[in-house]
Amino acid sequence: MALTAHAKRALEDHFSDLKEGVHAMRYDWEVNMDWETGLCHVRLDATRNTGGVTTTDPYALRLTFDYYPLDQPGVIFVNPKTKEIGAPDQFEHWWPNIDGNPWINIQINQADPGKSYLCFQWTQEFKQTHSPLADNDPKKWDPEKHNVVGVVSTVARALQSAHYKGYRKQ
């Protein structure tokens, strides 16, 4: 879905922090925004240490902004090379295993990969699959308090944490 004028204005405000703000620099994000289609891809890395050998795994997040900034952006992982969601027997090769981290629960739908999602309060997919949070819940999405940069930062934090174990399928 193309960006609404409201979403475009908000994204223009947030884009410099997404592209070159402190978190973008810290986690070395590569941001590719298509202003026509409204799709944004962010390449980010995860590092794992296996038997003393350090490996860097590339990931690609696909962000959508149908109801942004009033609502959370949509956030899923896609194939870093093709930017496709992928077939049921493939897609877990580009979704991470971060089980046990406190910020994000990964919900995998093996029958329908397009319905796999990152489950935390700041994603559109969370909103579509959960009851609304109470207005006074500090985790509730609030455009005065959260934006797309905080969303990507949360994913980056999980990928850089000790909970990261590699791709769901190697």
């Binding site: 703000g21 985790k139 308090k145 959260h146 934006n147 940069v149 930062s153």
Partner: protein, 99 residues
């Protein structure tokens, strides 16, 4: 007299330490200056003021990308400089969790 006062203000500014304040919910950052005798708690509280945010008891804190415990809020900027070096980034992260 006026010049002396200005010089005095300048001396005070020179003694202050430049730090970076970050609001984790948006990744927005701003520079600010603090005295070496100010505490970590005072600097973290300044994040709320500078970004017009309200504290919650579920917020978490990071100093230079490392988790920072609230029990350490009494530590002075001077001590933090000794431990972490010249560049200090104070970040307050609003809560979220896997659901």
């Amino acid at each position: 007299m006026e010049n002396k006062e200005k010089d005095g203000d300048k001396d005070q500014d020179d003694k202050k330490v430049k730090v970076t304040l970050i609001w984790g919910g948006t990744g927005a950052s701003k520079p600010d200056h603090f005295a070496r005798t100010d505490t970590a708690g005072e600097v973290f509280n300044a994040v709320y003021d500078r970004f017009k945010q309200t504290p919650t008891d579920q917020d978490t804190f990071e100093l230079n990308d490392q988790s920072y415990a609230k029990t350490e809020f009494g530590v002075t900027v001077e001590k933090l400089l000794e431990k972490f070096g010249e560049k200090l980034s104070f970040e307050v992260i609003p809560p979220t969790s896997g659901a």
